[in-house]
Amino acid sequence: MTSEDTSVVVFGSLARDEFTGGSDIDWTVLIDGVANPKHLDLARQVRSLVTSLEASPPGQEGIFGNMAFSHEIIHQIGGEDDTNSNTTKRILLILESRPIGRRDAFDRVLNQVLSRYIAEDARFLHHSARFHVPRFLLNDFARYWRTMAVDFAYKRRSRAGKGAAIRNLKLRMSRKLIFVSGLLACFSYHLLISDSERSALLSSPEASHEFVRHLRRVFAQTPLEILAAIINRHENLRPVGAQLFRAYDDFLGALSDETQRKHLDSLAHGDEDTDSLFRQLSECSRTFRDALLNLFFDEPTGLGQLTKIYGVF
């Protein structure tokens, strides 16, 4: 179905390898080439295929389940034309996406997006810089995280609280997970690479290209794998890792249980605080949050310092 100019891309839990029975399939037909009216036919085919799988359709906001064009995703970073929808597509393309079928367009667009963030912020690659963290990219991840949080409040109002309970839990768990994986990716030149290797990469005239290649390798992993890679490299983080993954596993366990998921889906706004399942998963999210705080403010790994310098303002 796909071609050198079109990739079918999935997002969300399917891309993160966290798909459960009640998950929806968020997808888009990513187009990077000459415009062709027939692209709509491809999108209709994909929609028909997804419907036949009897999975939940993409979300109500209309960001997924149709075509996405590379031009806006690549060119509109920041500024008035960088709409909520455009930012969402771009950030999720980086943080939680997988191509199905031909990946040519997907790889091209991802390379171009990441190259923009890196090439236009190249001062951080100067070997004399104290830290080598791509601020442009990090700021866009942070902006998206706050947007998701604000959008939760928007949806709670616009949908009169319907589905707010499960969206709240997802915000505190899976949405937060992809944000922290993005942060860790931005910090990864200090967390995954030895000092000597980093010095060699930064001294090279191809430092920008090498950093983009490094990010592609990092983002080829799922968010959980990114976290695991960092934690496994540092012995002192193992207890924090255990706490973190146990909490997330409990969350996924609840979502994969049809009865519990339906219960959370139908929980009326205002009933959350007295609902035992919601309270149990809230506690889970607090454990997850506390583990992340311990991770990000860990001093021996240097994460604490990076978080203070880049994560606060």
């Binding site: 050198e4 100019d5 080439g33 040519d104 790889d107 171009q112 005239p205 191809e206 290649r213």
Partner: protein
């Protein structure tokens, strides 16, 4: 035509199979003495029996040292081509092709043809990834095998075209990685436009150039500070 323009490098191409036999015949009498470098581009589409015949005919070529440029998606029997050793030059492909477009895809081809050399098509690489990150990866990996470079713009229809301003800027990004090897221009121009196109290529690929290429005037003009 090329001799008149004082070019010393030429690639003789038989992209269509029907052109191959006439080319082989013509090579027996063509005067190529004015060229310091000659390469031969093999047909880009062959079935199994045609492939065998073309490889057999290569042993009768006038000059056994001429590099033989091959599209990797043409190959059916790698064993046949392996015998040609370092005479063979594998070319990286454009986005339409199923293999040979990226560093990773070329790896499996060179595993099958370990002695083969490499023809870097910079236009193909730019089309596959306009950031030139893939081109960088390809050159980083296969620089030692580099025999020659194909230069052109590859447009949205995957056709060779003259170099545009934005493509020249993309090429300049990795120009410093390119060693001193023959450049084969695949840009379709008339004879009276050849020099101008060569100037554009010089500006795109030779990092020591201190002249500015102006898209408006399509000429190279000296930098003001160098005057």
């Amino acid at each position: 035509m090329l001799s008149d323009e004082d070019f010393h490098v030429v690639e003789l191409s038989a992209l269509r199979l029907s052109e191959w036999t006439p080319l082989v015949e013509a090579l027996k009498t063509l005067d190529l003495s004015s060229f310091r470098y000659v390469s031969i581009h093999l047909p880009s589409l062959m079935d199994r029996s045609e492939e065998r015949l073309v490889v057999k005919s290569l042993h009768d070529l006038e000059n056994p040292k001429w590099p033989l440029i091959l599209h990797p998606d043409t190959v059916t029997d790698f064993g046949l081509w392996r015998e040609l050793g370092d005479r063979l030059c594998i070319e990286n492909m454009d986005k339409r092709k199923p293999i040979g477009r990226t560093e990773r895809e070329l790896e499996s081809i060179f595993q099958q043809l370990p002695d083969a050399r490499f023809c870097f098509d910079i236009g193909h690489a730019c089309q596959v990834d306009p950031t030139m990150n893939e081109a960088y990866g390809i050159l980083k990996c296969y620089r030692e095998k580099l025999e020659q470079i194909h230069v052109s713009e590859v447009n949205s229809l995957s056709k060779h075209d003259v170099l545009s301003y934005s493509t020249i800027q993309s090429f300049r990004d990795i120009a410093h990685l390119i060693p001193n090897v023959p450049l084969i221009l695949e840009t379709p121009v008339l004879q009276d436009q050849m020099r101008q196109e060569v100037n554009k290529v010089r500006f795109a690929l030779l990092p020591i150039i201190t002249e500015i290429w102006s898209p408006k005037d399509e000429i190279l003009a000296p930098l003001a500070s160098n005057q």
